[in-house]
Symmetry: C2
Subunit: 204 residues, 2 copies
């Protein structure tokens, strides 16, 4: 490893505790943590409501991924086309904001294709956090307040949306080993030991 | 992490330095290291020559994977059928030997589907080592003496064979995040820091 790591990107399966891990790393290193606050920054940049930004990104991904995978080409209705344009605007804004943040100094960024957006920097550590379904369902119920009977379907739906979003914008497979420098099963290590291992990986 | 880790399995892309990492871990922990010696143990158990064991496993995988993927069912010529029987004998022996080794005490096992074979034990850490093509090609040339012009094709062929072998015997995708507790890009961290991170992950 020739370069000092300044930026840590965390990609994570739903219910794996990736967000909490990212937050703890940022706290331990005393550097900014960007998670949901990115939505607000993008919304402000695009002149949209934060809720709309979140919804538009998701809808755009779902519709386009469907069109591409089933038809093999873009077949967009006027409504979808509109969502597409908005979605692309959002991604342009998101990319600009994330690149600016990385330029400003050390930070932890959760989700939002940050690993892909920052692929040309060599001071980034790309981390992926995963866990078994059982562990993630437990976490979803206990920590996120998801009803037990719905936990698995919520997990699957969320993973699928993240994978589609990543496939669409980054043209790569979300969760593919090649995209990450360090992958941890948080169910095996637990949250605090995962944090400790990532901190260890960052420190030279 | 509730259980002490006794066995470390290392799966690795060709040229990633996974074998060297495994050897260094075993040395640091002063525990046995099983790599190519497993071939000799299997050969002895099956009453075959070591070279034959290695060749038969590979051939069997290649042929069967081809038959399954292209025809969707087993279509075996007498020659292939013979290789198939031998291949299955080898896998049975390999499974028995690896399970016995894990039962005996702490150790490091490289390759041979050990992560899958030991899937029912909860004292195992499954590690996957990967690296970018460029890093792997460099290693293949400098350390394994592969001709530079052949490096990429040797890497691709080896990865493909490992993936087919794993898919056939374990019915899972080799290199899929879900199979491993810890995945490291040895190009990012280097060999010694990869060793250090794995040792850290093992120590409670």
């Amino acid at each position: 490893m020739t370069n000092k790591i300044n930026v840590i990107t965390i990609s994570r399966e739903y219910g794996s505790g990736g967000r909490e891990i990212g937050e703890k790393i940022a706290k331990a290193l005393n550097i900014p943590f960007y998670d949901k606050v990115l939505i607000d920054m993008i919304a402000q940049d695009c002149g949209m409501a934060a809720g709309y930004v979140e919804e538009a990104s998701e809808k755009m991904t779902m519709n386009q991924a469907f069109n591409i995978s089933t038809l093999g080409y873009y077949s967009v209705s006027p409504i979808v086309e509109n969502v597409q344009v908005i979605g692309e605007d959002i991604f342009v804004s998101q990319s600009k904001i994330i690149k600016d943040l990385a330029e400003k100094g050390p930070c932890v960024i959760v989700g939002r294709c940050a690993d892909y957006i920052l692929r040309e920097r060599d001071d980034v550590l790309n981390v992926f956090i995963h866990a078994d379904f059982e562990e993630r369902a437990k976490r979803a119920v206990e920590q996120y307040g998801i009803e037990e009977k719905n936990a698995i379907s919520v997990i699957k739906k969320s993973d699928k949306a993240r994978a589609k979003h990543y496939a669409f914008y980054c043209e790569k497979k979300w969760g593919n080993i090649d995209n990450y420098h360090l992958v941890l099963n948080s169910g095996k290590f637990g949250i605090d030991r995962s944090v400790e291992l990532i901190l260890r990986a960052v420190q030279q």
